[in-house]
């Protein structure tokens, strides 16, 4: 329990630190939302300075930060200039979509990486492993962007998959089964792009971790007891190899999340990605900060989950903490 509290406190501190840095860097960038208005001769300079004063962009940085923190506590997360609305409702829908995409991609890539990696380690250096290793190496060298574009091209040429958005226009009029079908069709390409980019790294780590354990004498001893192959691999080798993999799990959430921002932009998935790009280009300060912070939050929570999983699955960490 104390371990958990310490971890949660650690995560909260991390997010607080990230908020300061994000705010600082976003504010240090030259120019702001209203700079573009100056080019427009029809708007009087007095109007622009009045607007800047209204949004308090003329105040010193620490004061603006405090104001922003106040708005975070109230749940608004600041104010978007271009949407003319508090940031939270804007982010909320988008974040939900990104979270959904990342979650499915995470589950699917681990669901594939574990059996593939275990099989690869079992046949280390022989037939299935050599094929798997070459395939993964090939996937690893293809940049995420070209992969996503290639998939888009495939969708456009074949017409089998929709190329963009999350649901069809007539989504609300569909029956439940068709709704699900529609959603799955729209998700297939973005998820595929994410999974294919994440897979090589995961498979290689699983393979290495399992291969390490398979050589251990206790595995030999377990084989000597006549324990079946499948149980040996998944009940003995996998738990013994789990620790680095669970840490990798936390990391993979972050990797998939940052990957999803790019894939969303390319594939037109209505998540945080396109919103952030738009916000950055128009220097919509608080929207950028909110989006970045939300991504940080996902990442930190992912790592927190990994830490707790580690604590929960490894009896040795329990024992260590009790001893201390």
């Amino acid at each position: 329990m104390r371990f958990m509290l310490r971890r949660v406190a650690h995560a909260a501190f991390l997010i607080f630190g990230a908020s300061i840095l994000t705010f600082l860097f976003a504010s240090l960038a030259p120019g702001d939302y209203f700079d573009e208005m100056r080019l427009n001769t029809q708007i009087a300079p007095e109007t622009i300075s009045a607007l800047r004063a209204r949004y308090q962009l003329d105040r010193p940085l620490p004061l603006r930060y405090l104001r922003w923190i106040d708005s975070v506590i109230q749940g608004d997360l600041g104010y978007s200039f271009s949407y003319n609305s508090p940031v939270r409702p804007l982010l909320w829908v988008r974040a939900r979509n990104t979270f959904f995409l990342t979650l499915v991609a995470t589950l699917l890539s681990w669901g594939l990486a574990l059996p593939i990696g275990v099989r690869s380690a079992e046949y280390l250096g022989r037939f299935p492993d050599s094929l798997i290793s070459w395939t993964m190496a090939a996937l690893l060298v293809i940049p995420e962007l070209s992969l996503a574009l290639g998939l888009l091209l495939f969708a456009a040429r074949s017409g089998w998959f929709p190329t963009g958005e999350m649901v069809s226009v007539d989504f609300s009029s569909l029956s439940l089964v068709h709704k699900l079908q529609d959603l799955v069709l729209h998700m297939t390409l973005p998820v595929l792009a994410l999974v294919l980019t994440a897979l090589p790294l995961l498979v290689r780590h699983v393979r290495a971790a399992i291969a390490d354990v398979l050589d251990a004498p206790f595995m030999l001893a377990a084989r000597g007891h006549g324990i079946p192959r499948h149980r040996l691999l998944y009940r003995y080798a996998l738990p013994a190899a789990a620790n680095p993999l669970i840490s990798l799990f936390g990391f993979s959430i972050g990797a998939l999340l940052s990957g999803s921002l790019l894939v969303e932009v390319v594939m037109g998935w209505p998540g945080l990605g396109p919103l952030l790009v738009e916000a950055i280009l128009s220097r919509d300060l608080y929207l950028v900060i909110g989006g970045v912070l939300l991504s940080t939050l996902f990442l930190v929570i992912g790592n927190l989950i990994a830490d707790l999983l580690l604590y929960w699955t490894d009896p040795r960490i329990h024992a260590d903490l009790v001893a201390k």
């Binding site: 004498p217 206790f218 084989r223 000597g224 006549g226 079946p228 738990p239 024992a319």
Partner: protein, 273 residues
Amino acid sequence: MSSEFMQPLIRVESVSKYYRHRRILSSGHIVHALNGVSLSIAPRSTLALVGESGSGKSTLALCLACLERPSSGKIWFGGRDIATLAENQMRAVRPQIQLIFQDPASSLNPRFTAFEIVTEPLVLQRRWKGRQTREQGFALLERVGLSAEMASRRVGEFSGGQKQRLAIARALSLEPKILILDEALSALDCSAQARITNLLLELQSSFALTYLFITHDLAMAAHIADEIAVMNRGRIVERGDPQKLLDSPEHEATRRLVAATPQSIITSRMLGA
């Protein structure tokens, strides 16, 4: 106890094992780990297998325990040639021939408690159910000199000697006919060595066990074994009564081993035996 007049429990006939070292471009070279080894062990006896490191002792142990398949040759056990069995049939034979390794710290699953380690083979083999498994588990721990309150401890909390006791208890849980001790005492200090040796001798008489005792320590071999076989470069080069082997070694490899063992230790161990 002489093996000539008894039906051997396990008989190895000219077993060879090659390993191919593969390279990316060349076809690599072949390593002959075992080169036509023949030996037999009488029931309830102890055969010590001595030799320098790299002489093929451990490979032979793995072949006997059905964990490696020989490249050629036969291993007769229970009226069958176990060297050529299919994988799932091999799995059925494995419990009868148990291995104990040099380093108990790595041969025991670090995530299991002592009790789980001892009973896991039983549960998996579905020999017993629930309460019987519990009783059997505690009985095994007690048999090797570990108390009941140690049952819930994990591997890391045991000393080297206790870990090796645990490994022995685990091996015994499947009621094996043969116990292969691959340098099982080498990682222990002297007093633990002596206590485990006594335990092994005691277990041998109460469970009617047959031991294959693999070691590089000739004095230890002479103390525990009925017979000693000397291995060198994948072959058995000399075999015989411990006393005779020590007094008049014939092969060069044996002479080297005898020369490497201080005379005083040999005499004291022999007197002890």
